[in-house]
Amino acid sequence: MSTVTIDKAAPTRNVKYGSMSRDRTWALRWSYFFLTLFAIFSLLPPFYMLITSLKSSAEISAATNPWWVFHPTLENYAGLLTSNQFLRFFWNSALVSIFVVTITMLISVPAAFALARMRFWGSATLATGVFLTYLIPDSLLFIPLFKVFAQFGEWTGIQLINRWYVLLFIYPTLTVPFCTWIMIGYFASIPKELDEAAIIDGASWFQTLTRIFIPVALPGLIAATIFAFTVSWAQFLYPLVFTTSTDQLVLPVGIITTLIKGDVFNWGQIMTGALLGAAPPLIIYAFLMDYYIAGLTAGATKG
């Protein structure tokens, strides 16, 4: 850097600034070093997926440099995108995710508002309780949950197991507690004078929620939405357990069950499927990222 030149130009005045900027320079260098490291670390798998998806089966099994494509082909993409089965998985995933996000938001936003603002007996304990339920891993829950739905089917005759919509009952057990928890935090950060002003202005609790809290907490709401979508889109264990017929499968399970036949791995299509499956969350992130940064509460109160 040019720190030395600056020192020469105005030695007495810039000594202090010089040492400060040297500190900052090193901090920045380390930041960039680790950021690069993490970027490479996390981008390597998707890069490998992309490389592999562009190869023919013959080239994948050939003993050439695995990090380069010598004869790029779109045959894997064509194969998957014309396969009704794959499109079915995609459709199922989309349906499940959209419904789960909707259900989650409809439950967790009012719940968070109630827990954060409408002080009632036990609300603090309840808020902690909501978060604790999120801490129970799904690998512990799937067996009892399976029993519950099997029993439910026996008693009522309504068969939910091996239907894609069974996931609409299961995923919210993961998403609702977490999204409620996120929204409690966001709502709690809104100054209480804001709802008091709204109440004095004549708003009901519901109007305070819809006209004041939801617009003000939009960044939090979007964060929670993205989370709920990602969880439902990427969920693997529950759909693996609860759905088995190929027409009921969602994308992650569908790819694994149909493209791995015994010990034969169709790597090209697996990688292509994974890459295409990763696209929707990626697009959503790209569009909504700005909302994370928008400081909407700025200017609400003294600032």
Partner: protein, 366 residues
């Protein structure tokens, strides 16, 4: 518009009694300021009038109706908060019209009310901006505008100027007074700043420890404080309290301060204080402006004495002087040309026509 009445209002949080039985009558059109140190219960009282806090006991009436269990939105009040509490996602106009829109007022009516309020508050060019694009003073104006457009029975202000810098505070104080002169809405205003209280109020309510110490016009509180707390809280620099006792000297009633200093009381004061036992421990309460440099021809009731100054504070139009009497620090106000200097002697005059005599134990003004 309406009057506001509080009858034996109590607020208790678990074991703590924040407000201990308040009786207060606020007339229609009146501007009443609740003032007191932090924790005196003034904000709680205001929030109970607003309906944001339940009352533990007593009655609150607005316009003659008991509103104890009436929700805030049905009390027809408007409130201005210390931190403005503007809705950050709405423009100034939307902020101001929010209450009216909820009540489904016709659009034309809303617009005319916003225009009128914006003109009154000089924020016409700001109506399309968002709160974060406004300065503190502008935000406070918008908050007031939001209250004005509702045309409520009562305005409630909760320390509205505390977040502003000193200069802006003085300016907004005048604005608030002007607005009140125009709209004449009954106003309850909470502040911890006695200057704000004195300058704004028709009547000031001084609160301490959840009780009302005294209610009166600014002048009454200043010249006839009922308790030591009020005497010391109102006025800046604060009133001096000097230990003293009464004594009879040659058939006249004197007030003795030190071994050397004893003043004969003016006749009306002597008559008033004659019944007080001579052994009672008393405090002489005297405001700084009543301790000045000695004049050549003093008026009756003005007595002079010598003092050695500890510190002087030249303020330009006057010089504040500090000296010690009987262990108490005493402040006086003298002419800048009186020759006051740090550590120097000065002959001073005390105006006993404006003195107060307090019981040292009870703090009551006698």
């Amino acid at each position: 518009m309406a009057d506001v009445t509080l009858r034996k209002v109590i607020k208790r949080y678990d074991e703590v009694e924040a407000v201990r039985g308040i009786d207060l009558d606020i007339a229609d059109h009146e501007f009443v300021v609740l003032v007191g140190p932090s924790g005196c219960g003034k904000s709680t009282t205001l929030r109970m009038i607003a309906g944001l806090e339940d009352i533990t006991g007593g009655d609150i009436m607005i316009g003659g109706d008991v509103v104890n269990d009436v929700p805030p939105k049905d009390r027809d009040i408007a409130m201005v908060f210390q931190n403005y509490a503007l809705y950050p996602h709405m423009t100034v106009a939307e902020n101001m019209s929010f209450g009216l829109r909820l009540k489904r007022y016709p659009k034309a009516e809303i617009k005319s009310r916003i225009d009128e309020a914006a003109r009154m508050l000089d924020i016409v060019e700001l109506v399309d901006r968002k709160p974060k694009q406004l300065s503190g003073g502008q935000r406070q104006r918008v908050a007031m505008g939001r209250a004005i457009v509702r045309n409520p029975k009562v305005f409630l202000f909760d320390e509205p100027l505390s977040n502003l810098d000193a200069k802006l505070r003085v300016q907004m104080r005048i604005e608030i007074k002007k607005v009140h002169q125009k709209v004449r809405t009954t106003t309850v205003y909470v502040t911890h700043d006695q200057v704000e209280a004195m300058t704004l109020a028709d009547r000031v309510v001084v609160m301490n420890h959840g009780r009302i110490e005294q209610i009166g016009t600014p002048n009454e509180l200043y010249h006839k404080p009922a308790t030591k707390f009020v005497a010391s809280f109102i006025g800046s620099p604060a009133m001096n309290f000097i230990p003293c006792r009464l004594e009879d000297v040659g058939g006249k009633l004197n007030i003795r301060i030190t071994d050397r200093i004893s003043f004969p009381l003016p006749a009306p004061r002597a008559a008033r204080y004659n019944a007080i036992p001579r052994t009672d421990k008393l405090l002489l309460g005297i405001r700084p402006e009543h301790i000045t440099e000695a004049k050549a021809h003093p008026e009756p009731g003005i007595e002079s004495f010598d003092a050695v100054l500890d510190v002087t504070e030249p303020m330009g139009m006057e010089t504040l002087i500090y000296f010690t009497l009987e262990g108490a620090q005493v402040c006086g106000r003298v002419n800048p040309n009186a020759g006051a200097r740090d550590g120097g002697p000065l002959r001073l005059a005390v105006d006993l026509n404006n003195m107060h005599l307090l019981n040292e134990v009870t703090g009551a003004v006698l």
